[in-house]
Assembly symmetry: C2
Homo-oligomer: 452 residues x 2
């Protein structure tokens, strides 16, 4: 919880304890919705309902949008139909879709029927799009004008209609078929002479995204071109809505969190902290158990070489090094590839270049690491053969780690699966098995030829 929200929470608790509501009502008018939203989960449902009832509908809508989806359903239920409908109508369609999207079909339909007909239709339409696409992110409330009008007429149009639009900073220009033909910023409109035709000041090279575009790609486009919003079009290039930069910020933060947690083998869906210890354990346990069983594969490899192990006990000393080194290199490779795919530095077209480059890195890094550890093993155990086993198997395992660490996420990505999700546990297990197999095979080979 942020410092501002902590202060807000203290004040709200004091007001709730004090009794009379006038002070609380005044405070709720002043507090920022984002801070208020942070305090609500700390209060019980009755207190939450009391507070939302006291807020103006537009602020209540903004607060509800920030809450966890499960909490919202309970709150809307508790507020009663009339108040819930009033708040839902205040939301922009994309925010309402976001809220309703997580609900059961029947719940969705009940709340939709509470909203006004035209709002409900907008929301219904948006609900059809995938939640992680441009269509799922966009709002239909954007400003578009006909290509035939003047800058002055456009500004007048804004003055009369704008209060409903989520962002008016770009005005999109469409032709008679509602196809996107240009864009002009509010700034350019203001700076133009009122009699100038919009078609003369607009830029005609408009970057837009298709309604089915993945949200990560939408974020990449907005970030790359420094947009405040990007228009969304259908197959016929008709303007459907816009995705605004604040939604892109949310996407970026969500995708980064998702990547980090999945690379660290944590199931990701929404918040982590703030949920119960039992729920958190549920997000952590699945991959840990998978990895433990993966580790058993490596264990069975080692068991197969128990004769070699009994002959050279020192092999066991280096087992953590031999599993750790290539494992860490595979994790490094996976992380740079996954991140490169997310930021667009790695394009799906350049797969071979990436793999070759990463293997090149691994050859350098593997040879250096192998030489160092061979030296250490030789000095420690006083056996040149032992040093050779350690050095050669470490270097070759690390090179294989780079191949696996870059190949697997790139291939998985090509099939449209999130590489951060599937790669981690698979690669970890595969690398453990590979390194142990190489290490003990090499040791067995040398043991038969050059007994120590």
């Amino acid at each position: 919880m942020s410092i501002e929200a902590k202060d807000a929470l203290e004040k709200i608790r004091a007001y709730l304890a004090a009794g009379p509501t006038e002070g609380l009502r005044r405070f709720l008018r002043e507090v920022h919705y984002a801070d208020l939203a942070e305090t609500l989960p700390e209060l019980n449902l009755a207190q939450q309902i009391k507070i939302i009832r006291m807020c103006e509908p537009s602020k209540a809508a903004a607060v509800l949008y920030e809450l966890d989806r499960a909490e919202v359903a309970a709150l809307l239920e508790g507020l009663g139909e009339w108040r819930a409908a009033q708040i839902l109508r205040e939301m922009s369609p994309d925010d309402a879709v976001d809220l309703l999207g997580g609900m059961q079909r029947e719940e969705q339909e009940r709340f939709l029927s509470l909203m006004g007909t035209s709002e409900a239709e907008d929301v219904q339409e948006l609900l059809e799009y995938g939640p992680e696409t441009a269509g799922g992110l966009m709002t239909t409330e954007c400003v578009s004008v006909d290509e035939g009008i003047t800058a002055g007429e456009a500004l007048e149009f804004l003055r009369t209609t704008a209060p409903d639009a989520e962002t008016v900073y770009y005005v999109y220009v469409v032709n008679k078929q509602n196809q996107l033909v240009g864009v002009v910023s509010l700034r350019e409109l203001i700076l133009s002479a009122p009699s100038t035709r919009v078609a003369d000041v607009m830029r005609t090279e408009v970057v837009s995204v298709h309604v089915d575009t993945d949200q990560e790609e939408v974020a990449r486009v907005v970030g790359k071109y420094d947009f405040l919003a990007v228009p969304v079009v259908d197959d016929e290039h008709k303007l459907l809505g816009i995705v605004t930069v604040d939604d892109v910020l949310d996407v970026l933060e969500e995708e980064a969190t998702e990547d980090i947690l999945r690379l660290a083998h944590v199931e990701y869906e929404g918040r982590y902290f703030g949920t119960s210890v039992l729920k958190r354990a549920g997000k952590r346990l699945p991959w840990l158990v998978v990895l433990l069983f993966g580790g058993l594969l490596a264990a069975s490899v080692i068991a197969n070489f128990s004769a070699t192990l009994s002959a050279i006990t020192a092999l066991a000393f280096f087992m953590t090094v031999m599993a750790g080194g290539p494992g860490n290199l595979a994790t490094q490779t996976l992380a740079v590839v996954v991140r490169g795919l997310a930021t667009g530095e790695v394009s799906p077209r350049g797969v071979l270049t990436v793999i070759m480059g990463e293997v090149g890195v691994a050859v350098l890094v593997g040879v250096v690491s192998g030489l160092i550890m061979a030296g250490v093993a030789y000095v420690w155990q006083g056996e040149a053969v032992f040093g050779t086993i350690v050095g050669v198997s470490l270097a070759s395992s690390m090179i294989i780690a780079a191949v696996i660490g870059s190949f697997v996420p790139l291939i998985i990505n090509r099939f449209g699966i999130d590489p951060a999700l599937a790669s981690g546990p698979f690669i970890t297990t595969l690398m453990d098995v590979c390194s142990m197999l190489i290490y003990f095979s090499l040791a067995t080979f040398f043991l038969h030829r050059y007994p120590m």
Copy 2:
């Protein structure tokens, strides 16, 4: 490289091969600067210089800003003083600072002397702030008006001065001492009657950041309140500049990449792909070598127990499981804590709650994992004592992993060090040593009492 940039590169190569420059010149006017910037690193320096010379100065400035800092220095050098000065003057002060910030002191001063006096002064001033603070991110080009004027006067002021300002979507209102007293959006100004006083429509509760605020905190504030820009003030609440949302997007992407790569033990500074294999190896090798030597600590622990290991060879089979399980749990814990700190879900004040929660999770997860592996070990080796050793040491190592995995980053964060940087290798090494120590101590203890 994105698809749009690939197309641009093909066209540029064709134009360069064709000879006459008119087509290229026309193409350069049309192509988006972000796409052009992506193509440049694929061309040689002479071609780069040729292309930048053909661009209009404002586009050249936008392109240069997108490039790697090292490339920019060479390009500015090659363009000659006159053209370099022209381009630098076109940049907004914060972008110029970003470019010059990475250069040597003498280079900086040479380029500053090429710029106009007033531009150079702005840049000089910004260069004094830390590059990762609000001061280092902000631009001084923002629109502020006196609290006494009307909405109509404010719009007229915008019409006459705005073309230079990076963003005009918020107009900041200041008093006679240049202290920030309010904010009004361009949208609100347009919707107001021209005779309304700005002081009557402005919001007086302005969220601002101090000039020394860390850039991650700035990003958090902009993201939380859905701002297009946030004002930056000094100790006396005087308005110094603004940080715009496009810079915040860059910060978020940079910080997320930094966190991911550092958690995966990769040195982070700027781009990874696009640099040479040798440079990439340099970013990967340091931590790998540190981790190998860390692994040697675990190896020396195991060597100390070689008598126990000789007596029960099966202990070696479970070593990868025993190092991997707690290691993975520590990585999970580290990742959720580091990410929680970055998104603000974990506040530095709530350290104890976080550690207690994570230990709670580890008790659940550890006991389940320990029971599963105890069962497997018992069935496989047919020894209840062996199963007990495996189960108890796995469960206790995992609980310790949660303590270390949450405690270390939180403590490091308290000292103002990036927890993603220092925690990873330290925790990995510490966990390996701990798990091996617990596993073999327990085995030795049982071996003496209940010989297998």
